[in-house]
C-alpha cells in the first residue's frame, strides 16, 4: 500500500512537472531543444505565384544557410511550406493549419496582397509572430497588428507618396499625368500619388484609368498626350504597364514614364522593348540582383546553384531578393531573441531591429507600434541598351522631400 502510494505521488509529481513544462512551452510552440518549426505560407500556384515562389525560394536559401552555419542559437530551422493557391480563403485555412495544427513558432508569409488583406482578422486573433516580406498592401501594417511585421516592400500608400515626391523634386515635373489600374492595387497607390501631389501644391495635368485585362490604351494615352505632360506616372501591374509604355511611345508621347515597384522585374525592359529606354521606376531593393555588387553576386550565385530550375526562368528577381532579405532579417531577430525562446521574446527582438541592413534589401527598423520595417526605396532608370541602372537617390515614405 505504502509502495503504491509512493508510486502514485511520484506519478502525480511527474505529471505536474510535465504539465509545468508544457505550460512553459505554451508561448513557444514549435520549439524543441534541437529545432524551431517555422511555417512558410505563400501563393505557389495561380496568378500570384510570382510573389509566393520568391518568398519560398528566399526563405529556403536563408534557412538552409543558417542551418549549415550551425543553426540559430544551436537550434536548426525546420520549415513547412503551404501553398494558398492564390486564393484568400485557402490562405486563411493554410494559416490556421500552420498555427493551430502544425503549431509552428512563427509564420513567414503570406506573399500576396489579396491573401494578406483577407487574413487581417485571423492575424488579430492569433498570437503567432508573422513576418511578411513580399507584398505591399497597407492594411496589414496600418493600423499595426502586434504580431505582424513587414519589411522589404514599402507599402503602396508610402510608395505613392515617394513617387510623387520624386517626380516633383527630382524629375522636376511641371505637368504630371497619371494612369492607374482600376483595381485595389492601382487605387491605393495612385490615390496616394494624387493626394501627395495636391498636398505639395501641384495639379495633375491628366488622370486616366484602365482595367487589368485591357490591351489597347489608345483612348487614355491620346487624351494624356493632349495635355502634353512632362512626366507620366503609371500605377499598375507589369503587363499592362509594359503595353502602356510601348503604346505611349507609338503615339508619340514624350513624357518621362515613372512606374511603381511592380515594374521592377529584371525582364521588364526587354518585355517593353526599345520604348523602355529612359523610363524609370521605384524599386525597394538596395542592389539589383543582376548587378556587379559583391553581395548581389554572391546571392545570385548561391541562388542559381540551389534553384537551377528558377535560374532558367530569369531568376533571381525582385520577389526572390525580397524573400531572401526578409528571411535574413527574420533570422537576425530569431537569434537576438536568445536561447530561451518565446514568441514574446521574438516580437521584442524584432522591435529591437534598428536600421538592420542585409546588403540586398533595404534596411529594417521596427519598434513598439512600428510594424513597417522599410520606409525607403530606390529608383531604377532603364538605359538605351535596356540594362537597368540604380540611381543614387533614396526616396522616403514620409519625411517630406526625397533626398
Amino acid at each position: 500500500m505504502h509502495r503504491i502510494m509512493k508510486t502514485a505521488v511520484f506519478g502525480l509529481c511527474l505529471t505536474a512537472m510535465v504539465g509545468l513544462a508544457d505550460a512553459a512551452r505554451a508561448d513557444a510552440p514549435g520549439v524543441t531543444d534541437k529545432a524551431i518549426k517555422i511555417g512558410v505560407l505563400g501563393s505557389l500556384t495561380g496568378p500570384f505565384a510570382i510573389f509566393g515562389t520568391g518568398n519560398l525560394a528566399g526563405a529556403t536559401l536563408a534557412f538552409e544557410e543558417a542551418n549549415t552555419a550551425g543553426g540559430i542559437n544551436g537550434r536548426q530551422i525546420e520549415w513547412i511550406s503551404l501553398d494558398d493557391e492564390s486564393s484568400p480563403p485557402k490562405g486563411i485555412a493554410a494559416y490556421k493549419r500552420l498555427t493551430e495544427q502544425e503549431k509552428v513558432f512563427a509564420v513567414f508569409g503570406p506573399a500576396a496582397s489579396a491573401v494578406g488583406q483577407a487574413l487581417v482578422p485571423t492575424f488579430k486573433a492569433s498570437k503567432t509572430p508573422t513576418f511578411i516580406s513580399v507584398f505591399s498592401t497597407p492594411v496589414v501594417t496600418e493600423p499595426p497588428i502586434p504580431n505582424v511585421f513587414r519589411t522589404g516592400p514599402m507599402n503602396d500608400r508610402q510608395q505613392g507618396t515617394a513617387i510623387a515626391d520624386y517626380v516633383i523634386d527630382h524629375l522636376k515635373g511641371q505637368k504630371i499625368a497619371l494612369i492607374r489600374q482600376s483595381d485595389e492595387y492601382g487605387k491605393r497607390g495612385a490615390d496616394s500619388v494624387v493626394a501627395r501631389i495636391k498636398a505639395r501644391g501641384h495639379k495633375l495635368a491628366a488622370e486616366e484609368t484602365f482595367n487589368l485585362t485591357d490591351t489597347d490604351f489608345s483612348a487614355q494615352l491620346s487624351r494624356i498626350a493632349q495635355a502634353t505632360p512632362d512626366v507620366l506616372v503609371v500605377y499598375g501591374y507589369p503587363n499592362p504597364s509594359a503595353i502602356i509604355t510601348r503604346q505611349a511611345s507609338q503615339l508619340g508621347l514624350k513624357a518621362t514614364i515613372m512606374g511603381a515597384n511592380s515594374a521592377g522585374s529584371r525582364r521588364y525592359p526587354e518585355i517593353v522593348g526599345e520604348a523602355a529606354a529612359g523610363t524609370q521606376n521605384i524599386i525597394t531593393l538596395e542592389v539589383l540582383p543582376e548587378s556587379d555588387d559583391p553581395a548581389a553576386k554572391k546571392f545570385h550565385a548561391a541562388f542559381e546553384k540551389r534553384f537551377p530550375d528558377l535560374a532558367r526562368q530569369g531568376r533571381p528577381d525582385l520577389g526572390d531578393v525580397l524573400g531572401y532579405g526578409g528571411a535574413l532579417t527574420f533570422l537576425e531577430a530569431l537569434k537576438r531573441a536568445g536561447k530561451d525562446l518565446t514568441q514574446e521574446k521574438l516580437i521584442a527582438a524584432l522591435e529591437s531591429l534598428d536600421n538592420y541592413a542585409t546588403g540586398l534589401s533595404l534596411p529594417t527598423t521596427f519598434g513598439p507600434n512600428i510594424r513597417e520595417g522599410n520606409q525607403s526605396a530606390r529608383v531604377v532608370e532603364i538605359q538605351k541598351d535596356l540594362s537597368r541602372k540604380m540611381l543614387p537617390v533614396v526616396v522616403r515614405a514620409s519625411e517630406g522631400a526625397a533626398k
Binding site: 482600376s182 484602365f210 482595367n211 489597347d216 489608345s218 487624351r223 493632349q226 525582364r267 522593348g273
Partner: protein, 288 residues
C-alpha cells in the same frame, strides 16, 4: 484623335478576331466551345520560347517547331480527350476543354515561371507616320494575317469538297458517315487546324500583350467577338472582333475607360438576349 483611335483599336479588334476564328472553327467543326482555347494560344507562343531557349534553335526554326508541335498537341487533345468523350454530354466535353486549358496554364507557370517573358515582334513596333496618323507595322500585320486566315478558311469550307464534308459531318454525324465521310478524320483535322491557328495567334499577339501564363484571359474577348458574330460564321467572327475593338475604344474615349469591360460584356448579354444568332449567324432550327 478619333481617326488615330480607330486605327489603334483595329489592332485590338484583330487580336479578338483571330481568337474568335479559332472558337468558331472548333465550334463549327466539332460542336464544342473550347474554353481552354485562350490557354492554347498562350501555350503556342511559349512553345516558340521553349524551342528557342531549351532546344537552342534560332527564332525562325523555333517558330516552325512550335507550329508542328501545336499540330501534334491538337491531335493529342482529340485522341486523348475528345475520342473517349465522343458520346459524353456536351457539358462533359466543355469541362474537359476547361481542364485542358487549366493544365496547360499551370504547367507553363511551373515550368516557365510565373514571370512574363520577352517575345520578339515579327515586324517593327516603331511607328510610321502617315498623314498625321501613327501606324505600327507590327500591329497592321495582325490585321493582314486575320484577313488571310479568314479568306483561307472561308474558301476551304465553302469551295472545297473536304470543307463541305467537315460541315456535313458537324451537321449530322450519322448522315455524313452514311454518305462516306470519315467523321473521325474530319474531327481530327479540325483539332489540328484549330491548334495551329492558336499558335499563329499566340506568336502574333505575345509581343503585343506581354507573354505570361495568364495571357489566355484575352480569350474572353475573343469569345465575346465570336458571339457577336454569331458563333457559326467565320466572317462574323472577324467582323465581331473588329467591332468589339472599336466599340471598346469608343467607350473608353467618350464614356469611361473604367467601364470598357462592363460595356463589352453588356454587349455580350444584349446579343444573347436580343439576337442570339449574332450579327451574321442564321437561326438554327432544331426539329425534334
Amino acid at each position: 484623335m478619333l481617326a488615330q483611335l480607330l486605327v489603334s483599336s483595329l489592332t485590338a479588334g484583330a487580336v479578338y478576331a483571330l481568337i474568335a476564328l479559332g472558337f468558331v472553327l472548333l465550334h463549327n467543326g466539332t460542336g464544342v466551345v473550347h474554353f481552354g482555347y485562350g490557354d492554347q494560344v498562350t501555350f503556342g507562343a511559349y512553345l516558340v520560347l521553349i524551342a528557342q531557349n531549351f532546344v537552342g534553335v534560332p527564332f525562325s526554326a523555333a517558330i516552325m517547331m512550335a507550329l508542328l508541335a501545336s499540330m501534334a498537341l491538337g491531335a493529342a487533345i482529340y485522341a486523348v480527350f475528345m475520342v473517349p468523350l465522343r458520346n459524353a454530354s456536351l457539358l462533359a466535353r466543355l469541362i474537359a476543354t476547361l481542364a485542358i486549358g487549366t493544365a496547360l496554364r499551370e504547367w507553363l507557370r511551373a515550368f516557365m515561371g510565373p514571370n512574363a517573358w520577352p517575345f520578339p515582334f515579327l515586324l517593327s513596333p516603331a511607328p510610321v507616320e502617315v498623314g498625321g496618323l501613327m501606324l505600327v507595322p507590327a500591329n497592321l500585320a495582325i490585321i493582314g494575317v486575320v484577313l488571310v486566315i479568314l479568306a483561307g478558311l472561308y474558301l476551304f469550307f465553302e469551295k472545297t469538297l473536304q470543307g463541305k464534308a467537315i460541315l456535313a459531318a458537324c451537321e449530322n454525324r450519322t448522315g455524313a458517315s452514311l454518305i462516306g465521310v470519315r467523321v473521325s478524320r474530319v474531327f481530327l483535322v479540325i483539332w489540328v487546324v484549330a491548334s495551329l491557328l492558336a499558335t499563329v495567334a499566340g506568336i502574333l499577339v505575345a509581343p503585343l500583350l506581354t507573354l505570361s501564363p495568364d495571357m489566355g484571359l484575352i480569350a474572353i474577348k475573343g469569345f465575346t467577338a465570336a458571339v457577336l458574330g454569331g458563333f457559326s460564321s467565320l466572317p462574323g467572327a472577324v467582323v465581331g472582333g473588329l467591332l468589339l475593338g472599336v466599340l471598346e475604344a469608343l467607350t473608353g474615349a467618350y464614356i469611361s475607360t473604367a467601364l470598357k469591360d462592363m460595356i463589352s460584356y453588356a454587349i455580350l448579354i444584349a446579343v444573347i438576349l436580343v439576337r442570339p444568332q449574332g450579327l451574321f449567324g442564321g437561326l438554327a432550327l432544331k426539329k425534334v
